[in-house]
């Protein structure tokens, strides 16, 4: 999973414009991904990539970069 896959996912699921998705983009402030969306996003990522995300990982996610790091670390 790279940033382009994540762009597709965010565009499909949450109508986020692709050009807004950069590594530094803040999920809530810039992309309007709230905590419920974040739960849905992680559940989609689990389906797509098979990664298991611990429940408390959500709390430390701020930016698109954090999501990518989380996926890489799994």
């Amino acid at each position: 999973m790279n940033i382009n896959d994540l762009k597709n996912l965010l565009a499909e699921e949450f109508e986020v414009p692709e050009e807004a998705v950069t590594v530094d983009a803040h999920l809530f402030d810039d992309l309007e991904i709230d905590s419920i969306d974040a739960i849905d996003m992680l559940s989609r990522l689990r389906e797509l990539t098979g990664i298991e995300v611990p429940a408390d990982a959500l709390k430390s996610l701020r930016t698109v970069g954090d999501v990518l790091t989380l996926i890489e670390s799994r």
């Binding site: 809530f28 402030d29 709230d34 419920i36 969306d37 429940a55 701020r62």
Partner: protein, 258 residues
């Protein structure tokens, strides 16, 4: 020695005893849960009466609401450690959503499981389980701030209660708790003694119906609005009784953790 903690301990032990009796009688689980929840409500009411008789606590309740409909979400603000006692004394048979750490406290953890309360540890599970419980007619108690109101009171609700209401159409019953002391507020130390009688005012106000939100996209759009409407409802109430002492302002959402 603060007298509240031993009293709380006695209440817990009483529930444990009932649990043991219920297990010995091989009571069906559903019946056991109902009985324990009813008892938790009675203990809460008794605790408040005793506090009042000992001159430690004064509380008045204003309730304009009907008895709870099945599958209602009760939300309350959280100015102090014992808020749950006021809500349970007023509204029996609630399923509380608790901080996950409480499950790991030895005696309390056992009780929390016996009462079949929900934990906020895994948000995905909380949403799924909460939805199932509401649809089965259980009513939930959620403190949507997620923790006690800290310092200068400013309400910022987490989204679980809001999402559950939008998903299920459950009525939201706000319970507004007015308390301005320092004792039990999370500001002082737990062993600090209150210098004067604790004064609480509890308002069970008109329930709110969530807007219709059949699709996930509708819920996305409506979450921030419904959240703001509920926060505003609490803030107006909180300001009404204490116009000079407390000015409640909304915390800006910018750069908050999700």
């Amino acid at each position: 020695m603060p007298v509240f903690y031993p009293l709380f301990g006695i209440g817990c032990l009483w529930l444990l005893l009932l649990l043991a009796l219920s297990a010995a009688r091989r009571e069906a689980r559903g019946q056991q849960i109902r009985r324990l929840r009813a008892e938790a409500s009675r203990i809460s009411a008794a605790w408040l009466r005793l506090g009042a008789r000992l001159g430690l606590l004064q509380h008045d309740v204003r309730s304009s609401a009907e008895p709870l409909a099945p599958g209602t979400i009760v939300i309350a603000n959280h100015p102090s450690l014992v808020d749950v006692v006021f809500v349970l004394a007023e509204l029996p048979q609630l399923c509380c959503v608790l901080k996950s750490d409480l499950r790991r406290v030895p005696v309390l953890g056992r009780l929390v499981r016996a009462l079949n309360y929900l934990s906020n540890e895994d948000p995905e599970r909380l949403l799924a389980e909460g939805e199932a419980r509401l649809r089965a007619g259980e009513s939930l108690l959620i403190f949507p701030e997620g923790t006690r109101t800290k310092g200068a009171p400013a309400l910022s609700f987490k989204l679980a209660a809001i999402e559950l209401a939008l998903r299920t159409g459950a009525t939201v019953q706000p319970v507004v708790i007015h308390y301005h002391g320092r004792y039990l507020s999370g500001l002082g130390r737990w062993y600090e003694m209150p210098v004067k009688r604790l004064h609480y005012r509890v308002e069970v106000i008109t329930p709110v119906s969530p807007p219709l939100a059949p699709t996930a996209a509708d819920r996305r759009r409506l979450r921030p609005r419904f959240k703001a409407a509920l926060e505003r409802g609490f803030e107006q109430r909180l300001n009404r009784f204490y116009p000079d002492q407390a000015r409640f302002t909304r915390r800006e959402p910018s750069s908050q953790p999700l």
